[in-house]
Amino acid sequence: MITVIKTVLSAALSGLLGLDAVQAGQFLLSRPAFVGPLLGWLNGCPLEGARLGILLELLYIDFIPVGGVVPPNGTAAAAVGVLAHSAGGLAPSLSFFLGLAAGRSYSYIEYQLRASRSPWNAVIEAQVAAGDIFLRRWLVKAMLIENAVMGAYVLAWAALAACISYLPGLSRLYPGTDFAYSLMPWLGLSGLYFRFRTQIYKKR
């Protein structure tokens, strides 16, 4: 029961932290490097949380949110990764790859959420033209929706992870996922290296 409560609270917290990515603050509280250890700490696995978080962070460095592009969501990735391990009972390696997939597929949902706000413009213009300039309620509405969707999304993936953990023969998969996971820090490091090497190279 405690695990369920912790998972629900963690999903809600990840929804809140997720707002920092685009909508509120942008202090990088939504980055996997922070979300991973924080949720890991809250769920009793700080080391695995930090490891998952920084590895996801290093891989996600490859994506830059310029020109309205929706990059993979690091908050969803880290939250799903940690909860798949702590609540779902999966090995850290499989949790990591599940998180990676969850972060990638959240960008489609985020795209839909952004697109769904476009029709608001006409309504807001009519409202302002009628003398009501209280825009805050629209922004709060947008953030509440985003928060709820992210929380539900993380919770759904955690539930999926729990279901996966009951699959027969799952342990046979772990030698492969463990080995791939052990190579991820090096893939992340190469991402870090090439991000800056390209800049230095272009400069000359």
């Binding site: 890991g40 490891r51 830059i64 413009n121 302002v128 805050r136 030698p175 190579l183 820090p185 290296y193």
Partner: protein, 278 residues
Amino acid sequence: MFFKMFLRSFFIQAGWNYERFQNLGFAFCLQPALEKIYPDRAKLKAAMLRHLQIFNTQPYMASFVLGNVASIEEKAAAGPDQEACLKTMPGVKQALASSFASIGDRIFWGRLKPMTAQVCLLVWAAGGFYGWLFTGLNTKVSVWLLMAGPVAGIVFYSAFAVHWRWYGLKSGYVCGGSASCGLDSANWPRLIRVLSTAGFLMSVAIALTAFGMLAALNYNSGRPGDVFLRIALPVGVLALHRITRALGKSVFFAAGLVLAFSVLLFSVFGMRPFRLYI
């Protein structure tokens, strides 16, 4: 007025949409200034409608545009020819938004954001934690150190972000009206160059330390062939990433390849798994 605009600027992207991008946030941020400039409700309404049009720039650098536009609105309200003054505003707004988007993307997204990960890794290294590099290796580490790394990165990044939000607002307001306003407030090319060089040097330092750790863990560990394999594999991953990048594929593709081959070799064909360290 400035402080209210500054606080609201943290929510400039709250209503981001594909039709007009940051327009809702922009109008929301500008509202305190417009309320002060136009006590008349009809004029305030018209001003709000003007700023609900399309707008998009880098969120931290939007402050430069906000300050500038507030200044133009103020001059227009106080001057004799409001129409002429406001006529130039969309052009100025657009020009500044594009310029600052380019500068901000390079500084914040392209350099400072990856540097927060580097800061995190350096803090962990200073605290003696390298456990992130060797998965499966259980090391004892305090939660405070684990949290200190990302928090240090956030503090480092936010210092820049908050500074430019506040400074941009002030500086945009002071030179308001010009389409080049604020563009000379820093030596941007130099700042970008310094950040690139610092980021690259930190990347090299982190990579060398990582390979040094790997070599140290495998030192005197038995057959030279095993040691060679354990060092060659990470180098191979680096090469794989380089090749997939050259092919225009994302890092997910490289990660997917590594996963697929590993599962095939160790889970399907049942090869005996091994670790990168002995």
